[in-house]
């Protein structure tokens, strides 16, 4: 293996698993340290810089950071990153004077955003401070998009949503509610300098089985949730079947319980492990006594005397191989489940009936617009897509990142720059050394387990539809949980010329991640380290030749707990613990 090029910001960035996994690259370890220090407002602002909606995301983020968290690989459960984000939001002071402001003097460019969801709001957040006039068109009479219509209020209270959306709107954004865009042609004719489509993926998938059209008690999940959010629906039958087992299904079943559902079942075609819902959303639904029925494939809606009485399912059996993949399946029976209502939550797609097909905006064979993955521009110059409308349903944090990237493109477009002229990421490394064995971060490993979020009692929570279930962390929980973070952004930086090969770092490393040996191919090296490096997704650091023997220092990044003992036991300062900061450029940096 060649010596590792640590001057490439990606190398150390990848070590910060949470930040690397976050689509918006939120600096998680740093905001956790700020929380530990009681600097809640600072932690909030650091979050806001990359993810724009910390209070919202602190409740409902899909948390790609947590499965990636290194803590999971040494201690089973990841740091409760998402919940700590909420802590920062819950305990922040008034931060309004720290928010970006739009200049009095506008730059003369006008941007139209379609849909007042997280993607468009991010575009507004990034461009308004640069002097752009931003107009947001929203079909409904409230802003927030799917964050408001599809996420029930018992998970995300309206006040939280309003507050963070208003931070953006207060910059003088021209939000036009009840203003559906019915023709792209007409919008383009209004002479906007750029158009951003952030209209989401608003079409729920259908399930065309016998009986579908013979009753009005079958609902499309996201439409039904929207009707509940706007109080057009306030009740449901006692027996409810939810078809599908994604996160929308979890919101549907829990909402049903609050509207009068007594016996709510989520019907899954496949076994556990193939569910699309996040583990924590499944847990929360099951805590509310929702039954998840596996291996049942929908066959027919059973209608008697014009009334839905239940559904017929094929009972399935699957062969699963060692890799956990389904290799074969068969029907082994048939089963009837009585019900009063059925909610379909089997996915959603984007739909653009309002975009004329002769505008130079190309659509692919699935009728999805062709969008550049880096610039988010469509095939028509000046028309950009982001969020679910760009590449299909993802989640809020992805939409935010799309918004950031599209903003850079829109800015470049309006300033006559090539869209591809984007600033590269750069990094800073700063030593955290404070004394002989003192560091500016808490390097003592805390073996405590993950803190459990407290919930409102089951007897209480169903009384109203908008009682927030999660109570937030207590002080004791915060104090412990922040110490579970291993500060993966404090990097073990190695200076090969200083090493005297005394083995002190290798001897002290609690997780056997260091080895001094002769170099070789990666595959072969991974087998002959102090402990075999069996996680190919985690890099090996390889130093240059060591001065005394010409061997190399190898570090398997996989389970390093960043305790800094290698640096503490190093007599020559060949190891140092340096805080890594990645600089992610935004539209404002492209001025």
């Amino acid at each position: 293996m060649k010596p590792t090029d640590t001057s490439n910001p990606d190398y150390y960035h990848k070590v910060v698993d949470c930040q690397w996994a976050c689509p918006a690259h939120t600096n998680v370890p740093e905001y956790i340290r700020l929380i530990a220090n009681g600097q809640f407002s600072d932690a909030y602002m650091l979050n806001r810089k990359s993810n724009v909606f910390p209070a919202i995301l602190g409740r409902v983020c899909d948390r790609p950071c947590e499965p990636a968290c290194r803590r999971r690989r040494v201690d089973e459960k990841p740091v409760a990153i998402c919940r700590l984000k909420r802590v920062a939001a819950d305990h922040r002071d008034d931060i309004t004077d720290r928010l970006p402001v739009a200049p009095e003097q506008k730059n003369g460019k006008k941007i139209a955003c379609i849909g007042a969801g997280c993607a468009s709001l991010t575009v507004a957040n990034d461009l308004a401070p640069l002097g752009y006039e931003v107009v947001i068109y929203e079909a409904l009479d409230k802003s927030g998009g799917l964050m408001r219509t599809n996420i029930p209020a018992f998970r995300l209270p309206a006040e939280v949503l309003d507050e963070e959306i208003n931070y953006i709107l207060d910059m003088g954004i021209d939000l036009r509610l009840n203003s559906p865009v019915n023709s792209m042609q007409e919008l383009l004719d209004e002479g906007y300098d750029a158009v951003f489509v952030g209209s989401g993926a608003p079409k729920g998938k259908e399930l065309n089985l016998p009986g579908r059209e013979d009753t009005d008690r079958i609902h499309i999940g996201i439409e039904w949730l929207e009707s509940v959010a706007f109080e057009h629906i306030d009740s449901i039958g006692e027996k409810v079947l939810i078809i599908g087992v994604g996160n929308t299904a979890m919101d549907c079943c829990r909402t049903s319980l609050r509207l009068g559902g007594k016996d709510v079942k989520v019907m899954a075609r496949k076994p556990r492990g193939f569910f699309k819902a996040s583990d924590w959303e499944l847990e929360d639904a099951e805590e509310e006594h929702v039954e998840i029925v596996i291996n049942h494939s929908p066959k027919e809606f059973v209608i008697e005397d014009g009334k839905l009485v239940g559904m017929l399912f094929d009972e399935m059996e699957y062969d699963i191989n060692d890799q956990g993949r389904i290799t074969d399946s068969r029907v082994i029976g048939e089963k009837f489940f009585p019900c009063d209502d059925v909610i379909l939550a089997i996915g959603q797609e984007n739909a653009f009936p309002w975009i004329e097909r002769d505008l130079g905006i190309e659509f692919d064979q699935w009728d999805v617009p062709v969008v550049d993955a880096a610039t988010f521009q469509s095939t028509r110059e000046g028309v950009f897509f982001g969020g679910d409308s760009a590449f299909g349903p993802k989640n809020i944090i992805w939409a935010v990142e799309h918004g950031h990237q599209a903003s850079i493109s829109i800015h470049n477009h309006c300033q006559g720059q090539a869209l591809t002229e984007r600033l590269p990421r750069s990094m800073n490394l700063n030593s955290t050394k404070m004394g002989i064995h003192e560091w500016s971060y808490s390097n003592d490993y805390n073996p405590a387990g993950r803190r459990q979020m407290q919930h409102v009692d089951l007897s209480e929570r169903f009384k109203k539809i908008n009682i927030e279930v999660e109570l937030g962390f207590s002080l004791e929980q915060v104090v412990t949980e922040v110490e579970r973070c291993m500060n993966c952004d404090v990097q073990t930086v190695f200076f090969d010329k200083l090493c005297i090969e005394c083995d002190a770092c290798i001897d002290i490393c609690p997780v056997d991640c260091l080895t001094i040996t002769h170099s070789g191919s990666e595959e072969e090296l991974r087998q002959r380290l102090s402990a075999p490096a069996e996680n190919p997704e985690q890099d090996l650091f390889v130093s240059g030749d060591l001065p005394q023997t010409g061997r190399v220092m190898i570090k398997d990044e996989d389970v390093c707990v960043h305790c800094g003992l290698c640096a503490e036991r190093c007599p020559t300062g060949a190891w140092d613990m340096q805080q890594f900061k990645i600089n992610i450029p935004y539209a404002k940096d492209h001025q």
Partner: protein, 351 residues
């Protein structure tokens, strides 16, 4: 000195031995020695050797005297018996303990000051008696704990940190041991665990006094240019005469050896040490030629390492004294102390 303790987090793929213990279960407290001290590497080698030998920690007694080296036993096997003795007197304590409890594994850790200056007399007689123990000298050529004066093992001409050369002839523990009838004499280097770990294992399996002189650089007072006990000097002048592979009793030999250069030695407990010759002329079973070889090469500034002399047939202290095979600890009190009548009868026999 680190303020934190070693994190309890472990590598998820950490191996366990047949006792269900991981290598980390053989560790002790956090070292308070200087960062980069060779002694800590020897500690790590001991941990690895005990883990691989699948030793039950409570069947080990670790003993030491005074000095940096003698702090070491606190840093491994926290579940073992241990005693920090008076300076240089560890061999006496070990002799007493061994006399009473012959069935424990004894590991003594000493230094060049503790063994070659204040404790030279004790060291010499433990050797002569062939006390069954592993005796490690963590040899760095200086008195580290008193800020770097030359010790008795410092070579003539080796320079102190302030540039002053040593003028006194060194006492070489290896040559001393061979001369005094040591039955297992080896030298290694703290910076080479591939060599050190098998030698520790072989030394523990050897029935008799196993001397292991380990060059263990003092990173604070004796790791500069001009020192003959620095990391760099030791590496540059490292002269390995053989490579030891230790194969415990009843374990199948899976490695293939080139028979011509292989010297197998069977130990008392049935385990074997396979010595792969690095230097063709070197014979570790011939006392006088071994001694001459070491002296000759030492004069050239070489640090001769490996299993340097071995006699697995030499009787240990218990065999020489014809003591009972069972540890005294396991005898009934009445057998050990049969009372005044028995004493009288014994005294009568001498009249």
């Amino acid at each position: 000195m680190s303020y934190i303790t070693k994190p309890v987090a472990r590598h998820p793929g950490q191996r366990k031995n047949s006792l269900g213990l991981t290598a980390r279960d053989y560790e002790g407290g956090m070292s308070t020695l200087c960062a980069g001290c060779g002694h800590d590497s020897i500690t790590a080698a001991l941990v690895q050797a005990f883990f691989e030998l699948e030793v039950q920690p409570h069947r080990v007694a670790k003993l030491s005297g005074i000095g940096c080296s003698s702090k070491t036993p606190a840093y491994f096997l926290s579940a073992s018996h241990g005693l920090n003795s008076v300076h240089g007197r560890m061999p006496s304590i070990a002799t007493g303990a061994n006399a009473a409890c012959s069935d424990l594994t004894y590991v003594g850790v000493s230094g060049d000051g503790d063994s070659l200056s204040i404790g030279l007399g004790q060291f010499a007689h433990a050797l002569r008696r062939n006390l069954n123990m592993l005796y490690i000298i963590e040899n760095n050529g200086v008195y580290g704990l008193t800020k770097g004066q030359f010790s008795a093992s410092a070579d003539v001409g080796s320079k102190s940190k302030r540039g002053i050369p040593n003028q006194f002839e060194p006492i070489d523990p290896v040559l001393t041991a061979i001369a005094l009838g040591g039955s297992f004499v080896a030298r290694s280097f703290s910076g080479d665990k591939h060599q050190l770990v098998p030698l520790i294992k072989a030394g523990m399996a050897h029935k008799g006094f196993a001397l292991l002189d380990v060059i263990s650089p003092c990173v604070t007072f004796n790791d500069h240019d001009g020192s003959t006990k620095s990391y760099k000097y030791t590496r540059d002048n490292f002269a390995e005469v053989n490579k030891a592979d230790f194969v415990p009793h009843a374990q199948e030999i899976t490695v293939k050896y080139d028979q011509g250069s292989l010297q197998p030695v069977t130990l008392h407990d049935g385990s074997r040490v396979f010595l792969r010759k690095v230097t063709e002329e070197y014979d570790p079973t011939d006392r006088s030629s071994a001694s001459a070889y070491i002296q000759r090469h030492q004069q050239k500034g070489e640090v001769v390492t490996g299993l340097l002399y071995m006699n697995s047939d030499a009787p240990d202290m218990h065999a020489t004294n014809n003591t009972v095979s069972q540890a005294l600890r396991d005898h009934e009190y009445s057998d050990l102390c049969p009372g005044p009548d028995a004493l009288k009868a014994l005294q009568q026999g001498y009249r």
